[in-house]
């Protein structure tokens, strides 16, 4: 396939080049021929007239003398001059006898004649003089043959050069293409074998193949990220789901074995339900993540005031913060309109506040700010003065199920920040975790695309009763 595409291209270009050359040369050749023919005929006719003049003035002897004189000069490439009497005997001229093949009438002819015993083509002007003398003035066209040959040689050489260059070009292009495509193929096969870290080589040229390679590389990065995500998630799911399931199983099995009094059975069963709720909580969070990751929620984007969503979330958490002795406050500079999903944004902000409250020390503070960044994107910043996240853990903090050392012993399954990250990415943004000296400064940057002219600012109208507001998958599962 490659082979034919490179060669086809080269052959096509060579043919095109030849056709172009011929198309250029043919009219030139024609024009050259015509103008030279005409010019030549004119010269011959003039010459012929001049000799007719001599004949009129000086008679036969005069013309014979004139011709002899001309011939005597022996100018190279001179014209054919011939004067014959009515019987066809040569009187003067540079041919031994009257050439055969010339029509009897006066006129200008281009004919095949035998000149000096060799066949040739000549342009001849035959004039019949008074007294039926015949005058022949002409030119041997073979005199010009070298020029014409040179023209044809030149054309042939050009065609040959184009063909050779085309063939060489085809071979080079094909070799280059094959080499690069071979490289791509090797990389791709390696990736298919499971070595996802491979990337296509790119040059700085930025040609089409390079652009393609770069695009493929970006795709590969995405795939690698997803695949790693999946394997991380499967490992973490295995761990995080097995633990409550193992507890549940041993709890139930113990009941079967020990057959304790009824009251004890009930309290154990209650614990068992709580275990199941933890598992359900993990499932719900995972399903939510999967749902966000598909990007389908984007179809439900509306114009949202990020500041309002954040302020409401802060209001929601203030009593819980007060209970822990943490000062939770909101700082806004006015509406921050973005296109987004208010419910998911509320959940993301909620998760961040939740997280901050979990780690802020007693009498600590958590500040939430919604602002418009200089580049026009919207930003939500949540800073606390807790222990923060160790620099080494930061890149992994938003990964699914990641739980830093500081979080051991606190509730949660390590999906909170993953959801924030997924929501930020859904909104064309990102989650950035920075140091607050001390504490954590979580920044959610969001692209502020516009959906429609500000019709309904702020979150969707309250979803009372059975409005279309999505709900958490049922059950009292508290853990997230």
């Amino acid at each position: 396939m490659i082979r034919s595409s490179a060669v086809n291209l080269a052959v096509g270009y060579v043919l095109f080049g030849i056709i172009a050359l011929v198309a250029f040369a043919a009219p030139l050749w024609y024009a050259w021929q015509v103008s030279i023919q005409e010019g030549r005929a004119e010269i011959l006719q003039e010459d012929s007239l001049r000799q007719v003049e001599v004949f009129r003035r000086d008679g036969v002897q005069g013309l014979v003398h004139f011709i002899d004189e001309r011939v005597g000069l022996q100018i190279a490439g001179e014209r054919i001059l011939l004067l014959a009497d009515p019987q066809g005997h040569t009187l003067a001229g540079n041919l031994p006898e009257w050439p055969r093949g010339i029509p009897q009438q006066s006129g200008t002819y281009t004919v095949a004649v035998e000149l000096g015993g060799r066949p040739s083509r000549a342009m001849l002007v035959r004039t019949t003089l008074p007294g039926n003398y015949s005058l022949l003035v002409g030119r041997d066209l073979s005199f010009y043959a070298p020029v014409e040959r040179r023209f044809w040689y030149g054309l042939a050489a050009a065609v040959a050069i184009i063909s050779v260059v085309g063939v060489i070009g085809a071979i080079l292009i094909r070799r280059e293409l094959l080499a690069r495509i071979q490289g791509i193929r090797q990389t791709v096969s390696a990736i298919m074998q499971g070595e996802l870290s491979h990337r296509l080589r790119t040059h700085n040229g930025g040609d089409e193949l390079d652009t393609l390679s770069q695009t493929i590389n970006r795709m590969l990065e995405q795939i690698e990220l997803l695949v790693h995500g999946i394997s991380n998630v499967s490992n973490s799911i295995a761990h995080d789901l097995r633990t409550p399931l193992a507890e549940l199983r041993s709890r139930l099995e113990e009941l079967l074995l020990t057959r304790p009094p009824t009251q004890e059975i009930f309290s154990e069963l209650e614990e068992a339900v709580a275990d199941v709720d933890r598992v359900i909580g993990i499932f719900n969070a995972l399903l939510r993540l999967a749902e966000i990751d598909t990007g389908m929620r984007r179809s439900g984007f509306v114009q949202v005031d990020l500041a309002e969503v954040a302020a409401e979330a802060v209001d929601f958490y203030v009593p819980a913060a007060e209970l822990k002795g943490i000062a939770l406050s909101f700082h806004g500079t006015g509406p921050v309109q973005i296109a987004g999903d208010p419910l998911l944004l509320a959940q993301a902000i909620g998760n961040l506040i939740d997280n901050a409250l979990k780690y802020a020390p007693a009498n600590g503070r958590v500040e939430v700010a919604a602002l418009r960044a200089d580049d026009g994107s919207a930003e939500l910043v949540i800073s606390d003065n807790g222990p923060g996240i160790p620099a080494a853990d930061k890149p992994r903090a938003a990964q699914r199920f990641f739980r830093g050392d500081a979080s051991r012993g606190t509730p949660g399954v390590g999906l909170g920040l993953s959801i924030v990250d997924a929501v930020a990415r859904l909104h064309g943004g990102f989650l950035d975790l920075a140091d607050n000296h001390p504490g954590l400064r979580a920044r959610m940057a969001i692209e502020s695309g516009r959906i429609r002219p500000v019709a309904a600012a702020g979150p969707q109208p309250p979803a009372t009763g059975n409005a279309l507001a999505p709900r958490p998958a049922g059950g009292p599962a508290r853990a997230l």
Partner: protein
Amino acid sequence: MKVLLVEDNERVTRFVTRGLREAGHTVDHADNGRDGLFLAASEPYDVIVMDRMLPGQIDGLAIIEALRKSGNRVPILILSALSDVNERIRGLQAGGDDYLTKPFSFGELLARLDALSRRAWAGGRETSLEVGDLRMDLLSRKVLRGTRAIALQPREFKLLEYLMRHADQVVTRTMLLENVWDYNFDPQTNVVDVHISKLRQKIESELERPLLKTVRNAGYMLTADD
């Protein structure tokens, strides 16, 4: 109340039927779409619990659409293992009134069925709500406990209004999150409980009778009864 349960899973059926009967309700059961549609169309029910995926030709959404087309306005709660927003929206657009994802706790189901069945006849344009000596004026937005005026933040007012509208019913934390805050996620901390205890402090002074009760493993109930 009279409940129709359309559900093909035996385990879920037994669990829901027993629970509802224990709570004093009558339960009819259909384990396929045809019987479900027949029962729903021929008997008057207070509320229908409809599984989305049913064996046979007719699935839950088809039954709901058929009922609604024939003008049947019975409240319907959809049960489904499909949790994502689009499925939920499809369920509600088909004519469902509420959507509960499996697995669910019985307390959540019962509370939602209660809310659904009562909404059928309540929910008028009243201007005031009363539970015992607690009075809420919806127009002036004033709340009185006996003669004592209670100052509430806007969100606390909304929370109390929801509780009063659902007086004598169990209201789950999830229902409160959805209806008072419009949130659809489970906060990791017990934020709702904190809001409730703040509200409780405001509406119940030490000398007054408790009104806002915590229902174990389910949620809360605002009631003047003991």
